[in-house]
Symmetry: D2
Subunit: 374 residues, 4 copies
């Protein structure tokens, strides 16, 4: 049985990687999870230095993730890591997850879960087979006002959902970019069949499904490469349909000059609407048929009970991305402690990859409506 | 030759019609145009009462638009109206425009220009044949910051345009609505082949073409009817392509609960971006690759010369929809005085109708990419 | 008895003057008021040219305001002007108003009403004596959401008022400015004992009294001259007290670089608050003790009845400064037609001047609390 | 010599106290500081339970702060705490700081530093005498865009500063409140001579001095008690003057219904301005004489070098209050490692208390200009 305080091993996240640091900040924030072991880089020097910087015992800084699984499994139950956090480039997500699950460790993986749909299905089989908990860090679900939106819709607060606008636009790939971050994200071998859509479009897809509680079923898409020489889409838009007659538009782009990390969702139902923007995450706009629009704010007592655990400070003390990420870690930790599935698990992983493949297919096929597999 | 001060006749806009009042406010604001004649309603009583309220001479309140064309043509040149303003429901736009042009009067028409593309082409032929000036009141082009955006892009200020997001969403048809405004807008016989797209989607289309200076060539669309029993689309979204490799997304909806009149456009080029929202029309956001985002404001000396004539007050004194509409009237008046075409003329009219027909076709045809005719 | 349609004479507002044009746009917008006579400048050439441009009959373009009063008084009742609009520099407000009232004409004056408090009291006496209607164009009261705020507070919607923040800041006098507008505004002989406070601080004072329904009684002030060589304050702030235990802060400045015309008010009572900003005039923010903050919007049916007449277009069609100004003209016209006082009349004129004098006195007197006379 | 990784003891912050948790989150976030000892409450049960929850060794959970100082001092140098974090109610700040300094421990204290000015001066003497580092957690200085503002002004980016508006308003004390937080904050014995001004006005004062680089010298103030029965001010406003001819207005209030934690500052100089709002902390508005206003954003490369260390994530990943607080802890940790003073130290502590006393005096003395002592 797991203790409340959890021990984490990490694969990936050596010096120079952005997302590894963020995972560690998030895991550390609430004092419930300790990093105890790691393989931070393929470069042993980088890995060792990172481990030292993080105060890890040298004996638990492993050379390969296979070593780590064996090494940790050999430790006493009350010492060995409880779960593995995977923060490598996309193509390594599945191999590491597989090794971890096979060695009996729960997995919390950066997204997308795998390189492609076939891999995601294989992962799903393995998770089901092992009975272990698999979580995917769809960070944006960790914001309390995203949970608020979900809860309001689930309770019928805007009536039957009709139309969804979801968008994730950035500008950092507007020009040819030559750095580690951009490098693997635009390489099909390490990033999968899509660049922008795999990287950020999947967040938009996941957010739309989470907030509405509906599964996206079809897309009609147009993916683009705007920067010469780039091998994967750096922009794309899709019309989509969800179960229950919901229609929508999803855009993701990394060539919108000047945009930072603009993920937003707007949902309109028969009797109301909700609007949320990740860059102002502590605010949720709620619209009505015949009443003034409302501004719902993080930390307030009028938020639904399920959103009350998502903040650490009173209203007006902004919490942000790291806190949302920490909420995803807390949710995963609670899932382990309670023996339940993580909020975003392997089913969402499969749907995300199926979504990407459907986009690519529709875009090649004259924008034809294309079913999202499962 | 026309005088600077112009005399206007009006068809449509009797009591109970919203848009007629707005046309009159706009025409009156700058003191350059006088209303001298009219047929305000099919109902003679309403028409006479409206004319009286407006201080028209009873002799120039006509029973039918045909009477008006004859009656005015019979007046001395320095008395008769210079142009006709058409503010009827859509299905009457062409018949009245035709009668006016054939009687030798310039025409300024509410949009859409006609019921369908065939009519629009017929109108184009007639305008070319008569050599008269035809203008379409695409109000939103009258905002000085829309002109600013157009000018910045034309001057290369954001580099080659890549991606456009344009959207026009409202909420007033979220529920079954039973009034004069909603009535004809949802009746195919009076509104044409599309409801929402014909009514407001055409504004979005027009705005995208005006701001970018590019012609939209293809759409992949999904039109919807969300309210039971409605006969025309009340919502729709389309992927689109423009000349020059530009891609975009256009949405129009009248079922977004709580949205008022939210027309917005965002354009991203190789080196910058521009964002404008009709509900905050005095602000234009300009983004850069490596510099802070800027807030451009109406009335400021740093705006391009072509935008300097569009405001009447110093910065910080908000001007709005009526002033933008008045700018459209002023532009038309200047066009007449200068013997040039109106900024939005019969070519835009044809493209608007072709756009609507392409949307309808694509939506019926599995969202297939569909060429916009001309 | 006055007709609904009114005839206006104007004093001031020749070519090169900003505010004259605005008054004319405002008076013209709704088609209820016609300009029939004027003295637009001390320079007869400018005056004649302005009159001609405006289409006035040459016989009603007068050389002096005294001539105008006599000339108009001599015309038949159904031809002569109904009222005089005064748009001169401040020092001429009283002489012209006096002449008009003595000749039997109602007066609508730009603000401040007079050069100083003594003049304002003299004006009050004259208005009372003649029984004529005197109005002051405190433009900002013309916004429907200002009326909404007033109405909500009057109905007890925020409980007993406690604290008011009111502020009017601009940047256009941040540097030495050499033009006609700046010239008289910084000249004590033409502007009165205060520059910035007389010019725009009085708007803030008026707005605070109108919205709260309370009279301001005391100030503790600090006026400043920041630009070398300027003879009148270009900035100032004051603590203030109102009847009923209300406390507040008022700031006015013309040296806040980059600010355009930023007039805002925030009022907090025992159970709620209201916030309004002139640069986004179609929105009113309403706060509550334990409920989400609301965004009230112009044109909506949920606004109080008294605000429903203040807009001409549906929600989301922004109306601005000219429309607010036109509302002030309409209010004055209705006052004449109904034989009642204008919303902002001679009492407000006296209070405004008393406010300025109290500020000047307190500022010279170690910020001591100083009573505002009456 | 101190190691990079620091060991912290804490006094205060038992279960039910808000600010203790925040200090711990902030100290923990970056993995550079460990909590090793504590006295969390006067109630030994609460203290022990808090220590256990935090994973402290029972031997280092002390009964009194005196015990803690002795106990820790007796430990080996590489085990004992490096500094004490004080998070008690105000009246205990000095006694604990004194004990810590006398025992040879550096101190990081929640603000205000002491109950009154006399105490603050005594503290200053002691700090000077011991040569130890004393820091005050003026959290808001930890935001990178506050540092950006300071840096721009220090570099002359807005010219000589003229006018400052600084404001800190909340609504949580609008009604009589009966909880632990409100209790001591409104009790003179535990909170000092001022309630609202001592609690949050001091943040506004500190922010104004930090951003402008000027010392505030005089105030003319009006403090209020709006809620019946409250013994300390719950609202206040002051005119102020700073060295160098700067003038300003400072307001602090806890009765502004619906406001959460609205701390904002606006500074205008001869050639530009800066505006920042704690509730949108990742944005800084910069105004110019003749150029568009700019939006500066956290994480961007164009920010000054001194602000580049203040964020952990790329632009568009909002960081908030906890991260700002963590920056204050990091600054203190760096100060210890570098043997320099903390950014906000004992001089700021004295000025803060002198500011409060001057406000109280001026408010009692007819708003007379009152010098702030030192």
């Amino acid at each position: 049985m797991l203790n409340e305080h959890l021990r984490m091993g990490m694969v990936g996240g050596g010096q120079g990687a952005f997302i590894g640091d963020v995972h560690r900040l998030a895991a550390r924030l609430d004092g419930k999870i300790s990093l105890v072991s790691g393989v931070f880089s393929r470069d042993p020097e980088n890995s060792r230095a990172t481990g030292q910087m993080l105060g890890l015992s040298p004996s638990r800084c492993y050379a390969t993730y296979e070593d780590m699984m064996h090494g940790e499994a050999a430790l006493p139950a009350d010492e060995r890591m409880n779960f593995v956090s995977i923060v490598t480039p996309n193509h390594m997500h599945l191999p590491v997850a597989k090794a971890a699950l096979e060695a009996g460790f729960h997995v919390l993986s950066d997204k997308p879960a795998t390189l492609d749909l076939a891999e995601a299905r294989a992962l799903r089989d393995l998770v089901r087979q092992t009975g272990l908990t698999y979580g995917l860090t769809h960070t944006y679900l960790g914001y309390p006002l995203v949970e608020t939106a979900r809860s309001i819709i689930a309770e019928g607060g805007i009536g039957k959902v009709r139309k969804v606008f979801v968008e994730y636009i950035q500008g950092w790939l507007s020009q040819p970019v030559d750095n580690k971050q951009a490098d693997w994200r635009t390489d099909p071998a390490r990033s999968g069949p899509s660049g922008c859509m795999g990287d950020i479009g999947t967040h938009a897809h996941n957010l739309a499904e989470f907030v509405t509680g509906n599964v996206m079923t079809h897309v009609a898409a147009d993916l683009s490469v705007f920067v010469d020489g780039r091998r994967l889409d750096d922009d794309g838009s899709a019309l989509f349909r969800m179960q229950g007659g919901v229609k929508g538009v999803l855009s993701a782009s990394q060539i919108c000059v000047g945009k930072e990390n603009s993920l937003s969702i707007r949902v309109y139902g028969e009797t109301g609407g909700l609007e949320w923007d990740q860059e102002e995450p502590n605010t949720l706009i709620r619209t009505y048929l015949d009443r003034p629009t409302e501004i719902l704010r993080a930390g307030q007592g009028y938020l639904p009970a399920s959103a009350q655990t998502g903040f650490r400070t009173p209203p007006g003390h902004p919490e942000g991305y790291i806190e949302a990420f920490a909420n995803v870690y807390l949710d995963f930790a609670r899932a382990l402690n309670e023996g339940r599935a993580s909020t975003t698990g392997v089913e969402a992983a499969v749907r995300g990859m199926a979504f990407v493949e459907a986009l690519v297919e529709s875009s090649k096929n004259n924008a034809a409506w294309t079913e999202i597999g499962s």
